[in-house]
C-alpha cells in the first residue's frame, strides 16, 4: 500500500465510516476527484462488522498502542513557510474497556481420541479472557484460534462451495459428521493443534484471578470423575470457532426505518443493488415487574394477535396510533399537552399503563419525560415506516451486518472513479497560515497530497481540534445458542429493556443465520446502553453494566450452565456462548480551531436508525457542492457503455448479479423477502458470493480499491 498516490484531489476523506462513505459516493458520482483513505485494514471504521476471530483480535489489540513502523517523515521539506501543520492524533482510539469471553469448553480427549492428558484440564469449562486489565503474558485467545485458522484455511478454500450448497438446502452443517471426518483425516496436524490449544488453556487457567474461575476450579474434581459425559450441553470451543467466518459482528448495530433517509437514499442512488436486507420481524419488551420478554403490538395484525392486552385496550391503542399517524390534522387533541411530558398526554388518552409502556419504550422509543410533540413525532416516524416492507414491519436490517453499508457506498464511489487506500495513515493536515484553509494532507509515507476539501471522521480529528473525550455508548455482544424468545420461525428482534432501578435503558437487537450474522443455530445479540457513569476516568465494569439485561434475556453463560447441569429452571432462555464488552468513545469537536473546509463526521452514537448520519452527509455535500444533486440514480452495469476501464471492470464483477434483485425505481421492491429466498436459490448463493468477497475485502485490496 505504499505506492505513490496522485498529487491532488478535489476532496480527501479520512475514515471509511458510513457518513464518509456516503459522502464519498455522492462526490464521486457527480464527478469529483475523490481520495478516500483509512488507516485500518478494513472498511467501515466504527461502523464495521467483523467475523468472530477478527473481533476477538480487535478486542485484545485495541488497548495497545498501534505501532508506527513507518519511516519518520521530514516535515520541514514538505511544508512551506505560509503553511501550518496540524498533527493528527496518534492514537485513534474509539473503543475502550474491550473484553471478550468464550464460555465453551475445549473439545475433550475422547472426542478426538489422541494422546492422554490430565483429565481435569480436559473437561474444564474454558473461559478465555482477553483483556489488558489482566496483564496476561500469553495472549490466549489469539493463539488458540489461530491454530484452528491455519488448520482450516486450506480446507475452507476447497470446501467453501460445498458449504454454501449445504446451507442452501438449509442443512444443519453444525451437526454434519463430515466436518469431523475431515479433521481426523489429518491426525498429525490435529495433534499439534490440540496440544497447542490445550497449553494455551492451561495458561489461561493459571492466569485466572476472578472468583468465578476459582469456583470452576473447585468444581473440576467432580467433573473429572465423569470424563465421558454423554451429551454435552453446548458445542465445544473448536466446533464453535469452526464457522468463525460466518459471524458478522457489528461495532455499531443499527436498524433502518423503512421510511428513513437511508432507505430512500439506497433506492434513489441504486446502491441497494449491492445489498440485501431483512425485516426486523418483531419488537419485544419487558413490562415493569416482569422478567419475561413480551411482543409489542405495533401493527394492526400485531394488535389483533396480541394476547397480552384486552380488547378494550386494543381499541384505545389503535385509536391512539391512528391519531398519531396524522396528528397534525387534529391539533385540538394535543394542544393542551404541547409542552407537557408525553406520558401525561398518553394518560389523558386513557391508555393503560401497559399500553403506555409499549408506546413510550418500543414504538416512539423515547422516555416518559419527552415532550408530547417530540413523542408524537417519534411515534409518527415509526408508524410511517410500518408496513412499507411486509405488513407489520417497520425496520430493515442489512444482511451480513451494518458494515456492509459503508462498503456499498464506497463501492459506488470506486465505480465512479474514487481512489481508495486502506492501511494508509494521514499524519497531519497542512493548512494555510493566513486563510486557515486546509491545503492538503501528509500521509505516513511522507507524501503531501493537496485537496480543496477535507472530510474526517471524528476519531481522526487532530488533537487540537478536540474538546473532551467521552464514552458515548456501552456495548455488549453475545453469541447465544437460541433466540431470547424462541418461536416457530426465525425472527429478527428489536428489544427495549426499560430502565429498572439503578440499571439504565438497554436497546437490544437480536438476529441470527437469517441475516447471515451467525452460523446456523447461533444467535447474535447486540446490547447498547448509554454509560451511566459521568466520571470518564472511572473504570466501569461493563459486565456489571449489562447485568440486568443479561438476567432478563439469558439463562446464564454456557460455563455456568454446564456446572449447574441439572438445573431445569431456565431451559427456555438461551445460554451465552461468547460475549464481548466495550465502550464506544466519541469526542467533541472544537469548531474554532478547525479550518473552514474541514468537515467532521460524527461517530455512530446511540441512535437506533441512520438519519443523523445521513443528514450529516447530505448537509456536508450541500456545502461542498451547493448546486449538485445528492446521489442521483446510478445506472445499472448493463446500461453503461464499455468505454472506460473503471466501468468495465465493475461490470465484469457484477455480471453474476441476479436480475431479481434489481429495484424498481421508487417503490422499494428491491427488498428481498424471506419467501423469495426460499423459492429461488440464486440470490442466496449470490449473497454468499458477495459475502465471500466482502470478507476478503477486510484484509486485502477492496473490490472498490483502485489504488
Amino acid at each position: 500500500m505504499d505506492e505513490v498516490l496522485p498529487e491532488e484531489f478535489d476532496v480527501i476523506l479520512i475514515g471509511t465510516g458510513l457518513p464518509e462513505s456516503v459522502l464519498s459516493g455522492a462526490l464521486s458520482r457527480i464527478g469529483k476527484n475523490v481520495l478516500h483513505v483509512d488507516s485500518n485494514e478494513y472498511y467501515g471504521g466504527s461502523w464495521a462488522s467483523f467475523n468472530i476471530k477478527t473481533f476477538d483480535k480487535l478486542m485484545s489489540e485495541t488497548q495497545m498502542h498501534q505501532e508506527d513502523n513507518s519511516n519518520p517523515v521530514n516535515l520541514e521539506a514538505l511544508i512551506s513557510e505560509d503553511e501550518e501543520f496540524l498533527l493528527m492524533s496518534a492514537s485513534q482510539q474509539n473503543l475502550s474497556n474491550c473484553q471478550s469471553y468464550c464460555y465453551l469448553s475445549k473439545q475433550p480427549d475422547w472426542v478426538v481420541a489422541t494422546n492422554v492428558v490430565e483429565p481435569n484440564v480436559v473437561a474444564e469449562p474454558d473461559e478465555v479472557e482477553i483483556s489488558d486489565d489482566k496483564d496476561s503474558p500469553v495472549d490466549v485467545a489469539t493463539t488458540a484460534p489461530t491454530m484452528v485458522q491455519k488448520h482450516s484455511d486450506t480446507e475452507d478454500l476447497s470446501c467453501r462451495d460445498v458449504d454454501f450448497e449445504e446451507r442452501n438446502n438449509s442443512d444443519n452443517d453444525n451437526e454434519k459428521p463430515g466436518v469431523s471426518d475431515k479433521q481426523s483425516g489429518d491426525p498429525a496436524k490435529e495433534k499439534s493443534t490440540d496440544n497447542d490449544s490445550r497449553n494455551g488453556q492451561v495458561d489461561a487457567f493459571n492466569n485466572a484471578t476472578s472468583e468465578e474461575k476459582l469456583e470452576n476450579a473447585s468444581d473440576q474434581s467432580s467433573q473429572a470423575d465423569l470424563p465421558h459425559k454423554e451429551t454435552p450441553l453446548f458445542p465445544f470451543y473448536e466446533k464453535f470457532y469452526e464457522n468463525w467466518r460466518r459471524f458478522n459482528l457489528d461495532l455499531s448495530p443499527k436498524v433502518m426505518f423503512s421510511r428513513g433517509q437511508l432507505v430512500e437514499l439506497l433506492i434513489q442512488s441504486n446502491v441497494c443493488r449491492y445489498l440485501e436486507f431483512r425485516n426486523v420481524t418483531r419488537t419485544l419488551t419487558v413490562l415493569s415487574g416482569e422478567n419475561r420478554l413480551q411482543p409489542v403490538p405495533c401493527s394492526r395484525a400485531d394488535v389483533f394477535k396480541s394476547k397480552f392486552v384486552t380488547v378494550v385496550e386494543k381499541r384505545i391503542l389503535m385509536r391512539f396510533l391512528t391519531l398519531c399517524a396524522n396528528f397534525e390534522q387534529h391539533p385540538q387533541e394535543y394542544e393542551a399537552y404541547k409542552d407537557r411530558p408525553f406520558q401525561d398526554f398518553l394518560q389523558s388518552k386513557h391508555l393503560s399503563t401497559k399500553v403506555q409502556h409499549f408506546i413510550i419504550h418500543s414504538i416512539a422509543m423515547v422516555s416518559e419525560q419527552t415532550s408530547t410533540m417530540e413523542g408524537l413525532h417519534a411515534t409518527q416516524k415509526f408508524l410511517k415506516s410500518l408496513g412499507r416492507y411486509g405488513s407489520s414491519h417497520a425496520f430493515l436490517c442489512p444482511m451480513y451486518g451494518v458494515g456492509e453499508l459503508p462498503q456499498a457506498f464506497s463501492r459506488l464511489s470506486a465505480v465512479f472513479g474514487g481512489t481508495f487506500c486502506l492501511r494508509r495513515r494521514v499524519i497531519g493536515i497542512v493548512a494555510d497560515k493566513t486563510s486557515r484553509a486546509v491545503k492538503g494532507v501528509i500521509d505516513s509515507t511522507g507524501q503531501k497530497i493537496k485537496c480543496q476539501h477535507l472530510v474526517l471522521d471524528e476519531s481522526h480529528l487532530p488533537d487540537i481540534c478536540r474538546s473532551g473525550f467521552k464514552r458515548e455508548v456501552s456495548r455488549a455482544i453475545y453469541v447465544t445458542d437460541k433466540s431470547v424468545s424462541p418461536s416457530e420461525t426465525e425472527e429478527v428482534s428489536l428489544i427495549t429493556l426499560p430502565p429498572v432501578g439503578n440499571f439504565p435503558l438497554y436497546r437490544v437487537i437480536e438476529a441470527g443465520p437469517l441475516c447471515c450474522l451467525s452460523p446456523n443455530n447461533y444467535y447474535v445479540v447486540h446490547a447498547l446502553t448509554k454509560p451511566s457513569c459521568v466520571d470518564e476516568n472511572a473504570i466501569v465494569d461493563l459486565k456489571e453494566t449489562f447485568h440486568s439485561a443479561e438476567k432478563t434475556m439469558f439463562a446464564g453463560t454456557a460455563a455456568e450452565l454446564e456446572i449447574a447441569n441439572n438445573n431445569e429452571s431456565d431451559k427456555q432462555k438461551p445460554a451465552v456462548l461468547w460475549a464481548a464488552y466495550f465502550n464506544m468513545m466519541s469526542c467533541g469537536v472544537n469548531n474554532d480551531s478547525l479550518p473552514g473546509n474541514v468537515y467532521v463526521m460524527s461517530s455512530p452514537g446511540f441512535e437506533l436508525g441512520f438519519d443523523k448520519a445521513m443528514n450529516e452527509a447530505r448537509r456536508t455535500f450541500e456545502i461542498i457542492c451547493p448546486d449538485e444533486e445528492f446521489l442521483p440514480r446510478a445506472p445499472e452495469p448493463e446500461e453503461i457503455v464499455f468505454d472506460d476501464e473503471g466501468y468495465k471492470s465493475e461490470n465484469n464483477g457484477n455480471s453474476r448479479e441476479n436480475p431479481n434483485e434489481q429495484p424498481e425505481a421508487g417503490n422499494g421492491d428491491y427488498m428481498e423477502t424471506e419467501e423469495d429466498l426460499q423459492e429461488e436459490e440464486e440470490p442466496d448463493v449470490q449473497g454468499l458470493i458477495d459475502q465471500e468477497q466482502g470478507v476478503g475485502d477486510h484484509v486485502s485490496d477492496g473490490n472498490g480499491d483502485n489504488a
Binding site: 394492526r300 395484525a301 389483533f304
Partner: protein, 448 residues
C-alpha cells in the same frame, strides 16, 4: 381458446402416457399464464379440467400453488375457489386448512375470503352434536373471541363484523309443520311448512284420515317453484264425524283432530324464543353477555360506528330478544340516523323482530292478530300467520300490501288504517276477505 384446448385433450387419440405428459406440460403452461393474470377465470377452470383428467394429480403441489398465489394476493377469490376445489378432491385434512386461514387472518384480518373459508370449514370440522346449531359450542366461543379481537382492533373493518354476524346467526332451521288446516266443505287440507318445498317433495306426502292413507292432489298456493303452503284436495271427500287427520311431509308429521260438528279445524305449532334463535347454553349466554358488555364499552369509545351498534342489536337478539326489545328498538332508531342510507334496512330489521316477538307470545290458534302500533314497515314470517281470519295492521309504517299477502286463504277482516300504503296488489288474491279498512293512507296508485 381454453375450450378448444380442452377439446384437443378430450378427443386426442394419442397413447395415454403421451396425453399424461401433455397434461403435465399444460399445467406448467397454465401456471405461467396465471403468473401474468392471477385472476383469469379461464385459466383456473382449465387447471381444474386438467387435474381431473390426470390419473394421479399432485394435489399437494396444487395446494402449494394456492399458497403462493394467496401470498401475493390474499383476497384473490379465484384462487380461494380453486383451493376449495383442490381440498375437496384430495384428502387434505380440513383442520390444516383452518390453520391456514388462521395464519392469513393473523397477518391481515381484513380478508373476507379467509373468514368466509373459515365459515365453510368450521361446520365440517367441528359439527354440532345437537340439532340446529352450526358448529360445536366450544369452537363457537373461541371464534367469538377471535373475531372480537379483530373488531376491537379495527371497528371500521367490515369483514370481521360479517363473520361475527355469521357466528351469531343460526344454522338452517329444522323443517317443521307450522300449521295444518282441515275443512270438510270444501274438502281440503292445507299444510304450512317452515321451509318451502318443491312440488315433487310434496307429492311424496302422506295424508291419513283415521289411519288410512287417502289419495288426492297437492296444489301450491301460488305458482312459485318452492312454496311453504300447500293445499291437498282428496279424491274422495272427507267424511263426517270425529276424525283424526295426520299429514306426513318432507320428513315431518303432525296430527289434527276434528270434532263432529266442526266444518274446519286448525292446528298451529307452539312457538318459543328458539323458533327464531339458536338455543344457547348457559356458558354461551355468559360469553355473549360479556361480549355485550364489551361492545357497550366499544360503543362509548366509538359512538358513531354503525357496526358496533348493529352488533349490539344482534347480540341482544341472540341473548334474549324479548327482554332487550325496547333497547334494540332504540339502537335501531339511532342506526337510522348514523347510517341513514340504510335506514330502511334497519326499519325492516325492527319489523322482523317485532313480528317475531309477537309470534312467540301470540295465540295463533285464535286466528286473530293484533299488530297495531308496532312501527313495522314490512310484514315478515307470514308463513306463521297463514291461518289468520282477522288481521289488524293499523298505525304502522307499511308502504304496500304486496304479494306477501297472497298467503291468507281465510282472512276475512284486514285493517290497515294509518299506514303509508300506496300499493295493494296483494289484496286481489284474498278469497275470504269481507272487511277491508284502509283509512288514512297514501294515494293508492293502482290495482292491477
Amino acid at each position: 381458446m381454453w375450450n378448444y384446448r380442452k377439446k384437443c385433450f378430450a378427443n386426442s387419440e394419442k397413447p395415454k402416457s403421451e396425453i399424461e405428459a401433455m397434461l403435465n406440460s399444460e399445467l406448467t403452461f397454465i401456471e405461467s399464464c396465471l403468473r401474468n393474470n392471477p385472476k383469469s377465470y379461464g385459466c383456473w377452470h382449465q387447471r381444474c379440467f386438467v387435474l381431473l383428467k390426470l390419473k394421479t394429480p399432485d394435489w399437494k403441489r396444487e395446494l402449494q400453488l394456492c399458497n403462493l398465489f394467496l401470498q401475493f394476493d390474499d383476497r384473490n377469490f379465484h384462487c380461494w375457489d380453486y383451493r376449495r376445489f383442490v381440498c375437496s378432491h384430495s384428502n387434505h385434512p380440513l383442520k390444516d386448512e383452518i390453520d391456514y386461514t388462521n395464519k392469513l387472518i393473523e397477518s391481515n384480518f381484513s380478508n373476507y375470503s379467509s373468514w368466509h373459508y373459515r365459515s365453510k370449514l368450521l361446520p365440517e370440522v367441528y359439527p354440532d352434536s345437537s340439532v340446529g346449531n352450526k358448529i360445536a359450542e366450544r369452537k363457537l366461543l373461541e371464534e367469538l373471541e377471535l373475531v372480537q379481537n379483530a373488531f376491537f382492533t379495527d371497528p371500521n373493518d367490515q369483514s370481521a363484523w360479517f363473520y361475527h354476524k355469521w357466528l351469531l346467526g343460526r344454522g338452517h332451521p329444522m323443517q317443521s309443520i307450522l300449521s295444518l288446516h282441515v275443512s270438510r266443505f270444501p274438502s281440503t287440507l292445507t299444510c304450512t311448512l317452515r321451509k318451502p318445498i318443491k312440488e315433487e317433495d310434496c307429492q311424496q306426502a302422506l295424508v291419513r284420515v283415521n289411519g288410512t292413507v287417502i289419495s288426492g292432489k297437492w296444489k301450491p298456493h301460488s305458482s312459485a317453484c318452492y312454496m311453504n303452503t300447500w293445499t291437498f284436495t282428496p279424491h274422495e271427500k272427507i267424511g263426517t264425524g270425529l276424525i283424526s287427520v295426520s299429514c306426513q311431509v318432507d320428513g315431518v308429521e303432525t296430527q289434527i283432530t276434528m270434532e263432529i260438528d266442526d266444518n274446519e279445524a286448525l292446528c298451529c305449532a307452539k312457538n318459543t324464543i328458539e323458533t327464531f334463535c339458536e338455543s344457547s347454553s348457559d356458558a354461551k349466554l355468559l360469553v355473549l353477555e360479556e361480549e355485550l358488555n364489551s361492545c357497550r364499552e366499544l360503543n362509548e369509545l366509538e359512538p358513531d360506528n354503525k357496526w358496533v351498534v348493529l352488533t349490539l342489536v344482534f347480540l341482544m337478539k341472540a341473548i334474549d330478544p324479548i327482554r332487550f326489545f325496547s333497547e334494540m328498538k332504540e339502537l335501531l332508531k339511532s342506526l337510522c340516523i348514523i347510517d341513514s342510507k340504510r335506514s330502511c334496512y334497519y326499519q325492516d330489521l325492527h319489523s322482523k323482530y317485532a313480528v317475531e316477538n309477537w309470534i312467540i307470545c301470540a295465540d295463533l290458534q285464535s286466528r286473530k292478530a293484533d299488530l297495531r302500533n308496532k312501527g313495522i314497515t314490512r310484514l315478515c314470517h307470514v308463513e306463521f300467520l297463514v291461518g289468520l281470519t282477522h288481521l289488524d295492521l293499523s298505525h304502522n309504517k307499511l308502504k304496500a300490501l304486496g304479494s306477501t299477502f297472497l298467503v291468507f286463504p281465510w282472512l276475512q277482516e284486514l285493517k290497515a288504517d294509518d299506514n303509508e300504503i300506496t300499493e295493494i296488489d296483494g289484496l286481489k288474491a284474498l278469497p275470504s276477505l269481507i272487511t277491508l279498512s284502509l283509512n288514512s293512507n297514501g294515494t293508492i296508485l293502482e290495482l292491477r
